[in-house]
Symmetry: none
Subunit: 202 residues, 4 copies
DNA sequence: CATGAATGAGCTTTCATTCAT
DNA sequence: GATGAATGAAAGCTCATTCAT
């Protein structure tokens, strides 16, 4: 029995502790290779007891994804609300997403990407609806920048390039190294709107 | 029994057909959810016969990864050899990697990313050594561009941003749509060296 | 939570409502496929609360059987007491047993037959002792008829043929159809003492 | 590992031995209380091996029922074909059914009645279609007798009374006692067409 | 090399029963 | 008495792997 690290947006109820443990295990071993016994062991209960909280193993996976989308959608909203200028909104979004991916919700965010296929079709549709809300926040800001002429590509394609850049960080970014989340965010913003300092130099 | 699409770099031997089928199934259903019976059925043999060609199921996964890395490392070498100027070499690399991911070796490339965790530690190390060769080709070209002052970030970080952008395409890019591999490659190159040069050229 | 139909011989106490619900569920789904949660849900309590009334699930089954035997043994006694002539006593017994099986105690009577095996050896012995009393009432009447020469077979064998005929009715008899319990009882009595007497009476 | 008694109509293949063992266990302990491990143990294989022969446990139950219906339908056909006079055909049918129930196919016949509910709706329908063929053989003979005026009740009701009488025998009939299958069959035939000797005496 | 029956460990899930509140 | 979370021992079923033919 190991102590599960708390995951932001998940409280200390039995259900919350179960979700934390599941997120961590699903990320580390994958959904299929993680057994309900594994999850139960981390939380310190018997495997049968899990089914008082979730009807199936898949429901645990869905709950992990649902909660992390909700939590980070709110984070995105707050990030946008705190800034006026589109380029600063973009920077806030990138920082928020990076924090989600390599920071407080990293386990669940990784699971969201890597274990997507393990949801059945119905649950995928349901989760997709939630992701659409999240994505729309990005698209709105990118559309503003596009209108301002800050980049040429279609906003929805630019979003996909950004998704790739931020999403891949869970495979390499280490906050303890020299590069900070803020530094990395600036780097990514530069990929979208060009290197500001260059402009400043021009 | 379905006819497995040929995968570039894999010949028509029984072993080759097995790898093709495995790559496709591993991508579509995931390594864990794919049974050796599934693979055997596609090739038209019995499940027991698979073990005359591969000692374990994991060995099949490893072979898929190994072959696709080898094949695409050669593709990268050819791409670099065909160009002189660093920026054109970069463009050639991006095109080559995009072709690998969304084109002829898409199944195996996706598997390389999504099922990495299913290899045991030893095999991961072994495969990593092969990937390092592949990655070094990228880093060399990026180092040249960096020396030329075409971007400011560390080359190895730039490579990771590119990896994210190209790697994610398997989730959205559809060659039948308006955007071509070449067009997308240009877009990505712009993210690295800025859009100015094009404007300047125009 | 559904309203359980009252079963004759079982009062409206919590225990009585539990037995009614159990009888119905055991008949409809079988003892093994009925969970204590099912029973609790029908009565409107939690599953844990059942064990304040019965020590085990099997005890519920036993109680259902015990009560229905008692109730119908009394019904048989009353039927015999109301008639003088052996053949009319037989008719009364058949009517009483049919009423038990397709009428007011049909659920519990069906359970008595179909779930007998689910009792452990001790409980089977105990229930058998009660059934013996019930059966003796039949055997006495049949012995009288046999002495009168109304049929040739051994009374205990004749009883078994009757048991088969009446017991099977729960699989087909539908009171709402043309055949009444009384009509069916006459038919069965004819199987025992022959159709001649009726003809003679006509 | 116990030796499973051979059941008529089931050969000595692995599948046949599995069905024999299952029929016996299902009768003795009931379908729900019999585990696939129980069945495997009797046959002397591992539990997992069962699923090479049957996809599910329920499929085993269905196969037991299907085979016993087929086998005994043929037995009924042969019985009818061997006699000309309706009353002798009836006697042959009763003997055949009694043999099925207390003789060579007793385990499976009992299972057919007692575990019917354990089949899902689809399989019940399928098995019912087979039973209808079996039942029609009975109804035809009974219709002939009815036309001859040998009994007054509707043939289909008479069949149900007979079903009850023969079906219940598995609970009490012991061939080693004084009453033989032939003797019991005569007794039952008398319940249908009246006691012949009485007529002879008249 | 191919077969396919068999293995056996391991999986998710169920459920009667317990017990602190 | 009632609650309902927790238990823990099964259950049915899956599947990579083996091996005699």
């Amino acid at each position: 029995m190991t102590q599960a690290r708390a995951v932001h947006g998940i409280d200390d109820s039995p259900r919350g502790r179960l979700l934390s443990a599941a997120a961590q295990l699903f990320r580390d071993k994958g959904y299929e290779r993680t057994t309900v016994r594994d999850i139960a062991a981390v939380v310190g209960i018997q495997s049968g007891s899990i089914f008082h909280h979730f009807k199936t193993k898949e429901e645990i996976l869905f709950a992990v994804m649902e909660e992390v989308i909700h939590f980070n959608t709110e984070r995105l909203r707050a990030a946008i609300a705190a800034e006026d200028r589109p380029v600063e909104r973009l920077r806030a979004l990138v920082r928020a997403e990076l924090t989600a991916i390599v920071g407080d919700t990293s386990e669940a965010m990784t699971v969201l990407v890597t274990e997507w296929r393990c949801l059945n079709a119905d649950k995928q549709r349901e989760a997709l609806a939630l992701r659409d809300i999240y994505e729309q926040l990005w698209l709105d800001v990118l559309a503003d920048l596009h209108k301002e002429g800050r980049f040429r590509a279609e906003p929805f394609i630019m979003r996909r390039l950004i998704t790739g850049m931020t999403g891949w960080t869970h495979n390499w970014f280490d906050q303890s190294r020299s590069l900070s989340v803020e530094g990395l965010a600036d780097l990514i913003v530069d990929r979208v709107v060009g290197e500001e300092s260059e402009e400043g130099a021009a």
